[in-house]
Structures are given as structure tokens and as C-alpha cells.
């Protein structure tokens, strides 16, 4: 049992990552990654919401009528997202402005619906909690990798602090402004998928 729980928790973080393997939740993964700080906040918010939504739906799973389960799941998620959004507005206002509509879009994040449908509807609350945290962290991991590269190469900073020394700029180094724009996020995720599939050969498509 302990081993199984470890697997439920550990698999989604890299081996069966929701973003690069199942290609879920791409929308927000790309849009918020121009800087590290909003990316981390977004990753944590999604982790909290997936974990809690998984637990709630897993507790309700025997009482939800099959025909309206999507609407019930959406309402549970929307309520949790509203709470998270209000908390962010209260304690981290500048980040919540940066994230703008993408916090609201967690509702339609496919990772959530995917986990609720595929896992929480069949499993108990404890396993669902672990599965939710694992998937949330897997999502956060990709966000952090992409945001790290984009912020470092795009503005020469990490968390807003300058890391590329001034003398580099004096000798003609320039920030790559392209990194801050949306196309590079897509190309970077493409590259992460490339690395991931080179490591796990059985995922490669014929």
C-alpha cells in the first residue's frame, strides 16, 4: 500500500507528467511563464486546487449522478478557484494582477477535469489527495523550468534580481527579447517534450 501511494504521488511529477506526456493544461503553462514569480504562484495555486478538488469530488463520488457529473465537478472547481483568487488578491495583489485572467482559467484547466474524471471518481480521498498534489507539482515543475529559461535569457534576471553581470552587457551581451514573447514558450515546451521522449523511448510516436 505504501509503495502504491508512493507511485501515485511520484509518477506524475516527471515520468507521467501531465503537461509533457498527457499534454493537458497547456494554456496557462505557457502564458504565465515570462517570469519565475508568477509561474511559481500559478504552480502552487494549481497544486492546491487540484488536491482539494480531488478530495472533494472523491468524497462526493458516490452521490453524484452520472449524467450531470461534469457540471458538479465544474462547480466544485469554480468555487475553489474563486477562493484562491480572492486570497491572492488579498495577500499578493501585484502577482494576481500579472496573472490576470489565467487564475480564472484554472477552472477550465484540463489537468483538473482530467484528474477528477480519471482518478477522483474511482478512488478514495487519501489516494486522490496524493494524486492531486503529484499532478500539481508535475505541472509546477514544467512551469518553473520554462520560466527559469525565459526569465534568465529574456531579461537577465531571476525573481527580478539581476544575475547576468553588468560587464557582460558592457562587452556587448544583449537580452534576447524574443524569449519574453509568447512563441518562445511554445518552442521551449516543445524542447522539453523532446528531452523527455528521448529519455522515455516508449512514449515516442511512430
Amino acid at each position: 500500500m505504501a509503495n502504491k501511494n508512493k507511485e501515485i504521488f511520484g509518477q506524475p511529477v516527471w515520468v507521467n507528467n501531465p503537461v509533457v506526456v498527457q499534454i493537458l493544461g497547456i494554456c496557462s503553462a505557457l502564458a504565465v511563464t515570462a517570469q519565475l514569480k508568477p509561474a511559481i504562484v500559478m504552480g502552487l495555486s494549481v497544486t492546491v486546487i487540484v488536491a482539494l478538488a480531488n478530495v472533494v469530488v472523491s468524497l462526493l463520488r458516490k452521490t453524484i449522478p452520472n449524467r450531470i457529473r461534469i457540471i458538479v465537478q465544474l462547480v466544485v472547481v469554480a468555487a475553489l478557484v474563486t477562493i484562491v483568487s480572492e486570497v491572492l488578491k488579498a495577500f499578493a495583489y501585484d502577482v494576481s494582477v500579472q496573472l490576470s485572467v489565467y487564475i480564472g482559467l484554472i477552472i477550465t484547466n484540463c489537468i483538473l477535469m482530467g484528474r477528477l474524471e480519471a482518478f477522483a471518481m474511482q478512488n478514495g480521498p487519501k489516494e486522490s489527495l496524493l494524486d492531486g498534489i503529484g499532478n500539481g507539482l508535475g505541472y509546477a515543475a514544467i512551469l518553473i523550468i520554462v520560466a527559469f529559461v525565459r526569465e534568465l535569457l529574456g531579461s537577465g534576471t531571476l525573481f527580478g534580481f539581476q544575475v547576468i553581470p553588468q560587464w557582460c552587457y558592457e562587452h556587448g551581451y544583449l537580452n534576447n527579447g524574443m524569449m519574453l514573447m509568447s512563441p518562445m514558450a511554445l518552442i521551449l515546451v516543445g524542447c522539453i517534450i523532446w528531452v523527455h521522449r528521448a529519455q522515455f523511448k516508449d512514449l515516442q510516436e511512430k
Partner: protein
């Protein structure tokens, strides 16, 4: 009237749902393997966007906004729940109506309709509308009246369809090209979308 057209054109090319905001990526990547199904999903998105966005606009301006329902009360924190409920409800309704009156359309759109309830482009459209309602009416992006919300809905829906049909056309050709093993399928698709998005960036200088 001028604002109506400028908003419409801007939301197709400049503020394209896919290339500028990455909304609706999940179904965008999953359903773009051939042009015919991509077109079907695109039409379904335009259809649903065109109904839900104006409804949510009325909801936002008549019920949720500050001082709308009760003087001094701002209900906009309820917008997430209400918007998603409206979207899920309308998708269900559209599905039933289409099934009843046009079985042939249902047969071609049917499988896509339930997918659309969780399509970020629809929810994102409503959330952007909420942001733009509060903007200065003189701004080119502002949604100041009911007509503007229709222009935005139509434009963003057509923009999404344009994007998915373009990608599907490229992916049909990609089938025959020699791509490195680990990059096959999804990997190369991401990079293709990145390059397309770069091309679409040239519209961002468009002054309307």
C-alpha cells in the same frame, strides 16, 4: 460602427486566442490532425462563443457589476462560478437543440460539443470581456456596448478557427516529413505552433 469593425479585426489577428493568449490549447493540439475535423471544431467554437459571450456580457453588466443589482454591492467575485455555469448550461442546451432540429449537423459537431464546455477559449473570452468592460471606452480594446461584445465573440471565435485550420493543414503535410524520433507528434507540433505564432506577431503593429 467603426469601433465594431476594429474590435472584430483586432480580435481575429492581433489578440488571437491561440497565438497571443494560448487559450484553448488542449483541444487545439488534440483535434488538429486533419482539416475536416478541425473545421468542425472551429465552427462549434464560433457558435458557442457567439452565444455565451453576449449572455455573459449581459450578466456582467446587469447583475454582477458594481451597483447593478443592489446599490453599493459588487458581486464580481461570483463571476467564475456564474460564467462557467452559463457556459456548461448553454453547451448542453445547444447540444439538445442541434440534436433535435438538425441531426446532420449534430452528427458532425456532436462529439465536439461536450469538449467545448471546458475549452479555455470560451471561458477566456468571457473573462477578457469582463476585463474590457471596465476599460476606458476610448481604448481600442474596450467593450462598451452589447454590439461590441458580439464583435469580440465573433472575432475571437473566427481567430480560433483560423488557427486550428492552419495548424491542421500543416500537420497533414508533416506526416510525410522526416522528423527526429523523440520530436515526432506533439513535440514538432509545439514548435510549429511557436513559429506560426511568431508569424502572427507581425500583425501586432496593425493600427486600427
Amino acid at each position: 460602427m467603426e469601433h465594431f469593425f476594429s474590435l472584430f479585426i483586432r480580435s481575429i489577428f492581433v489578440d488571437n486566442m491561440i497565438f497571443a493568449f494560448f487559450l484553448g490549447m488542449c483541444s487545439y493540439l488534440a483535434v488538429s490532425k486533419n482539416v475536416k475535423t478541425a473545421l468542425g471544431l472551429g465552427v462549434a467554437v464560433i457558435f458557442v462563443q457567439l452565444i455565451t459571450l453576449p449572455v455573459n456580457y449581459l450578466l456582467q453588466t446587469k447583475v454582477l457589476g458594481p451597483n447593478c443589482l443592489v446599490e453599493g454591492v459588487d458581486l464580481s467575485f461570483l463571476s467564475f462560478i456564474l460564467f462557467i455555469a452559463v457556459i456548461a448550461g448553454i453547451v448542453q442546451l445547444v447540444e439538445m437543440v442541434v440534436e433535435k432540429f438538425s441531426p446532420s449537423l449534430y452528427a458532425s459537431l456532436g462529439i465536439f460539443l461536450p469538449l467545448i464546455a471546458v475549452n479555455c477559449a470560451i471561458m477566456g473570452g468571457s473573462l477578457f470581456m469582463q476585463q474590457r468592460v471596465e476599460m476606458d471606452p476610448a481604448s481600442t480594446q474596450a467593450i462598451a456596448c452589447f454590439g461590441d461584445s458580439i464583435a469580440f465573440a465573433l472575432g475571437s471565435g473566427i481567430g480560433w478557427m483560423l488557427a486550428i485550420v492552419c495548424l491542421a493543414a500543416i500537420r497533414e503535410k508533416l506526416e510525410y516529413s522526416d522528423v527526429p524520433g523523440p520530436l515526432k507528434g506533439v513535440g514538432i507540433t509545439f514548435i510549429t505552433v511557436g513559429l506560426m505564432s511568431m508569424a502572427f506577431m507581425c500583425f501586432s503593429g496593425l493600427a486600427l
